[in-house]
Every structure is written in structure tokens, then in C-alpha cells.
Amino acid sequence: MNIVRDVLKPIGKGLKITMRHFLEPKDTVSYPEQRKEQFARTRWKHVLLRYENGLERCIGCSLCAGACPVRCIYVEAADNTDTERYSPGERYAKRYEINLLRCIYCGYCQDACPTGAIVLREDYELADYTRESFIATKEMLLEPLPVRDEVAEGVK
């Protein structure tokens, strides 16, 4: 056995590969401090949108619940009245709940919605300790009301 040819040379060869990868730029995303860039069509937690004037887009038609392959959406509709108006149409969703644990984030609800009310956004940090905490109610899903810039509107 030749000690140089059979032992030292292969070790050097192997270490050369190790060193080459050692000097390459790092691939690791150190997650909590640094976030991976999400793809444009990433689908995670749902958001219920509003129109610019603050009315809800959702009209309580339950088409999303029908399209959902795992049946994890529950919609209960109620009529809008002139004094209590939530959405521009005839009806609005009184209760809107999604079981985020059973949801498979397929985006079929987004495709089915006639008014574009429900969209899936990029918030993927959803893990939790109890099963009950995964029921997302309408209040948790709805976009916050737009803040009115009263100075710009000339009200003040």
C-alpha cells in the first residue's frame, strides 16, 4: 500500500470539495431573524377584503363554502338594512368562519368568490397550542377599516 497515493491523496481530494463548499455563499435562511422571500402566488391565511369606502366585499353567497374541498368554511348570511349596511349588495355575511386547521390552502375559495372578497395572503405563522384557536371568525379575517385622512378630505 502506498501511503501517499492511497491515503493522503484521497483525503486531500475530499477535503478540497469540503473547502470549496465551505467558501461558497451560504444558502441558509436564518428564519426568525430573516425571512425567505415568498413567491408571488403564495397562499396562506385568508383575508376578507373591503371596498375603498369601507364596505365589506363579501355578500354572504356561500359560493366559497361550496367550492371548498374540505368544507371548512361556514357562512351565515343576513339582510342589509338601510340603517345597518355592511356590504353594497342585498345581503352580507353575519357569520363567516374558517377552520384554518382543516383548510388545505388550495385557494378554491378565492377562485369561487364573485366579488373577490376572500384572498389568501402570505401570513404563514399559524401554529398554535389548541385546536379551538384555529377557528378564524369574521372579525379575525376582515381587513381593518381604512383610516380616514380627514385633513386631506377637508373635513377638518
Partner: protein, 202 residues
């Protein structure tokens, strides 16, 4: 590591805070608690329990792109005797359920369970006769991760939450010495329990 956990807690109010002494914490072993918990949460050995597609994401979170080794969790153990954490990744069929419970019983205490993905957590898209509707019917689950499959960052987020949970555990409560007899009894959609947890623990 601690700054990471702090960062997650700041962003997320549902993570339990560490109970302080005024609220009935333990006086004698407080410092010991902290040392033990620090050691435990930074060297969690997960068990390889990939059951379906979610396992691919679990493997990818151990690879260099996400690198679970940053949290001391890269040593995936094939033997339950050497594992602390069972990541149930994938759907649990009713045939697999007794096996899963047995492996859980073989793990030494303290042990934790992360239910990864919609299938393991509640059955997901497979609401049918063959799949256990949530692995919490057979073992106590500490953290649930939604998604189909959860991306590696979502899994790492769950593991950080688990670390935070371990941080709040107290030695004085002898939590890990008392056998956990009660398993949460969640009903399946048709009102029957998939498997009797007491059978497996006998």
C-alpha cells in the same frame, strides 16, 4: 437562541409567558428549572415519523436551506428511545394509530408531540373511514401546525413555539414524572372516537 424566542413572543401574544414567582411559581428549584429547560429546549431530538407528503417538508427543514441544526434539532432519531419530540408529519390511518401510540409510549419522558399538517391535526381533506381525524385522539399534542403541507418556515415557527412552551414548564410540578393518563377526547364528525386511548396505554 433566546433572542429568537423573544422575537417570536413579541410578535405573537398567544404564546404563554413564563409564570412569575408572585403567581405561584416554585421558589426552591427556580434557577434549576431554567437550566434544565434551557438544556431541554436546545437539544430536542425529533423522531422520524413521516407518514405522508408532509414528511418531505419536514426533511427539507432539516436540510441546509432551513437548517434545523440552528435549533439543536437536526438529529432525527429512528429509535423512539433516543427521541424527545415526535413530529407526526402526515395522515395517520386507523391501522397506523396503535403503532403510533406504541412508539409514543416507548419514548422516554419528557416528550412532546408536534402535529404537522392538516391531516395529522384534524384529518384534513381525508374526512373518511380510514384516517384518524386528528392525532390528538391518540396522543397529547403540544403544537399544531396548519397547512398542506406547512412550509419549512411554518414548521420552524411551530418548533420555536414548542421551545417557548418547554421554557414555561416547571420542575416542581413533576409534570414529566406523572404518567399522562388522560388523552383529549375529541369527537370525530360522526360522533365516534377513532380509537380508545386507554387500550393502547394498558
Amino acid at each position: 437562541m433566546d433572542t429568537r424566542v423573544q422575537e417570536i413572543v413579541l410578535r405573537d401574544s398567544s404564546t404563554p409567558a413564563i409564570p412569575n414567582l408572585e403567581m405561584g411559581g416554585n421558589v426552591l428549584v427556580t434557577r434549576l428549572d431554567e437550566i434544565v429547560n434551557w438544556a431541554r429546549r436546545n437539544s430536542i431530538f425529533p423522531l422520524t415519523f413521516g407518514l405522508a407528503c408532509c414528511a418531505i417538508e419536514m426533511m427539507s427543514s432539516a436540510a441546509s436551506r432551513f437548517d434545523l441544526a440552528r435549533f439543536g434539532m437536526e438529529v432525527f432519531r429512528a429509535s423512539p428511545r433516543q427521541a424527545d419530540l415526535m413530529i407526526v408529519a402526515g395522515r395517520v390511518s386507523k391501522k397506523m394509530a396503535p403503532v403510533l401510540r406504541q412508539i409514543y409510549d416507548q419514548m422516554p419522558s419528557p416528550k412532546w408531540v408536534v402535529s404537522m399538517g392538516a391531516c395529522a391535526s384534524c384529518g384534513g381533506i381525508f374526512n373518511n373511514y380510514a384516517i384518524v381525524q386528528g392525532v390528538d385522539q391518540i396522543v397529547p399534542v403540544d403544537v399544531y401546525v396548519p397547512g398542506c403541507p406547512p412550509s419549512p418556515d411554518a414548521l420552524i415557527y411551530a418548533l420555536i413555539k414548542l421551545q417557548q412552551k418547554i421554557r414555561t414548564q416547571r420542575l416542581g410540578m413533576l409534570l414529566e414524572l406523572t404518567p399522562r393518563t388522560e388523552t383529549p377526547a375529541l369527537e370525530t364528525s360522526d360522533g365516534t372516537r377513532a380509537i380508545e386511548a386507554s387500550d393502547a396505554s394498558k
